[in-house]
């Protein structure tokens, strides 16, 4: 954590709201008219909080995340990020980490991490310094010269996280980032993410299918229904931090996971 000196460590201030979604609905154009995808979504994410969204496949989780990232426009309702709407992607406010690592195979790990900075035309030495810092933060010092195909799945996702953090946005959106990893790597990566989150104090919105992952990571779990996606439950996760693997075996953990499962199961 000695390498995070250049990241804005934002101490969470309960009164500050990072993301505010109100009355958001979305309808897709379908061949037989509109397909309602999201319905009356209201979310408020405090700065520095770790919020996990779970829900059945096709419930519109990813669409919601794309809208938070400014990559897609909602049909109705408003989204604000630190008080301002986000009509277009704004890497200074929001970093996105995608499901598959989505690294560019023609660039090395280092160049992948530098990519967002290079779009702005930052000077080379500055980019290199930032990228090295980020690779160190995610535990990949010395791997900068490797191409993605020379890295394991977990390492690729680490590079992807480093790329998401390199512009130091206060908000990090993660769309099932560990879905493609095996169970063991996935656990390790979850733990690593919490370490990085703790070091950087980002506001995180994280989408997952895994209930265990949701409870393990989150301050709050939002449960979505099947299409059209609505928020059907908001579950505060009161487990103390730092979280440990041992907590997964406790009653409290099991009950929280059960509650999410009941919610997802009863929704048609």
């Amino acid at each position: 954590m000695q390498h995070v000196a250049n990241l804005n460590r934002r101490e969470p201030q309960p009164e500050e709201t990072a993301i505010e979604v109100s009355g958001l609905s979305h309808v897709y154009d379908g061949p037989d008219g509109g397909v309602p995808a999201l319905q009356d979504i209201n979310i408020s994410v405090g700065a520095g909080r770790f919020v996990v969204i779970v829900g059945p496949s096709g419930c519109g989780k990813t669409s919601l995340l794309m809208m938070l990232a400014g990559l897609r426009q909602q049909s109705a309702g408003t989204i604000t990020c630190y008080g301002k709407p986000i009509p277009d992607p704004d890497p200074k406010r929001v970093g996105v980490i995608f499901q598959e690592a989505s690294l560019f195979p023609w660039l090395t790990s280092m160049e992948n991490v530098e990519f967002p900075l290079s779009l702005r035309g930052d000077p080379k030495p500055e980019m290199r310094r930032r990228a090295e810092e980020m690779l160190t933060l995610v535990g990949l010092q010395g791997f900068g010269g490797r191409y993605p195909h020379e890295l394991s799945g977990g390492m690729k996702q680490r590079v992807s996280i480093a790329r998401g953090l390199v512009q130091d946005p206060p908000v990090l959106l993660m769309d099932e980032p560990f879905a493609a990893l095996d169970e063991q790597t996935r656990m390790t990566m979850g733990h690593e993410l919490l370490r990085i989150w703790n070091a950087t104090r980002k506001t995180v919105v994280f989408i997952t299918h895994s209930l265990t992952e949701a409870v393990y990571l989150a301050d709050e779990v939002l449960v979505m229904s099947a299409r059209p996606g609505r928020i059907v439950d908001r579950i505060p996760i009161t487990l103390p931090r730092p979280r440990t693997y041992e907590m997964m075996a406790t009653d409290v953990f099991g009950k929280l996971r059960d509650r999410i499962w009941q919610q997802i199961r009863q929704v048609p």
Partner: protein
């Protein structure tokens, strides 16, 4: 060149790589030596009529003689210029049209089947038409070769656009990439492996186009000389021409393949 390229003919070496690799290379040299040896021995011992297949030694000395003749120099220069001009026209024009069509779902839907139909038609049947329009000089050779080559480039460019991953575009957009940046930083590197292969194959078609046009009706060029030697039963000259053309074509092919191999490290 192919003699020491293990990738040739898609050979993948698994067991004891060093050993098998040496064996393969040695076998290739042995085969080449055998063919060349037979080419020398069979005609000179009259097993094959030397009037039909002159011995290799005679052909090579004829090649030396021909390469010293001004009219052969002139023919080489003409053919080289035709090939070059046709190539310089066909590749950018074909690539641009291919990219424009592939980028528009509407144009793709309209043109793709039509292009496949036309692609199936042997282009040489249009040669008389080209002669009527362009005469039998330089423009006809260039126009015909560019026509056949442009088609191949167009089809490959469409495939190249389809090889660009939507995920990569989304990542770039999320980091605020402009349209121009998406083109230069995502499209071009994504398409590079297919584009290089296209250039290689385009040159094969291009060379073939010029040769056919020259052999069909012409007053100059290597194709014209070869056609004439064939008609006059000058087999030494004919085979010398074949060796010259084959060597040139293989050389160009291998140069592009060298660059392709460098890209293949990240080709997925």
């Amino acid at each position: 060149m192919w003699l020491w390229t293990p990738a040739f003919a898609g050979v993948t070496v698994r067991k004891s790589p060093a050993m098998t690799r040496t064996q393969i290379i040695l076998t290739r040299f042995a085969l080449l030596a055998l063919v060349l040896g037979l080419w020398q021995v069979l005609p000179s011992s009259n097993v094959i009529n030397p009037l039909l297949l002159p011995p290799l030694g005679d052909v090579l000395s004829m090649l030396g003689t021909l390469l010293g003749q001004p009219r052969v120099h002139e023919a080489i220069a003409t053919t080289a210029l035709e090939v070059l001009v046709a190539f310089v026209i066909a590749v950018p024009v074909g690539a641009t049209i291919g990219v424009i069509i592939a980028e528009s779902p509407y144009l793709t839907a309209v043109f793709k089947p039509i292009l496949f139909y036309v692609f199936a038609v042997p282009k040489s049947i249009f040669l008389p038409l080209f002669i009527l329009v362009f005469g039998i000089g330089f423009p006809q050779k260039v126009a015909y070769a560019a026509f056949t080559t442009g088609f191949v480039v167009l089809m490959s460019a469409m495939a190249a656009v389809e090889s660009v991953k939507a995920d990569h575009i989304l990542v770039a957009r999320s980091y605020g990439a402009t349209r121009g940046q998406i083109l230069t930083r995502i499209y071009i590197p994504s398409m590079m492996p297919i584009l290089l292969e296209t250039i290689r194959i385009a040159m094969i078609f291009n060379f073939t186009g010029v040769m056919i046009a020259e052999m069909y009706a012409s007053r100059t060029g290597i194709g014209h000389l070869i056609a004439g030697w064939g008609e006059n039963f000058q087999m030494q000259q004919l085979f010398a021409g074949v060796i010259l053309l084959a060597t040139t074509a293989i050389l160009f092919n291998e140069i592009i393949r060298y660059f392709e191999a460098r890209c293949s490290t990240w080709r997925t």
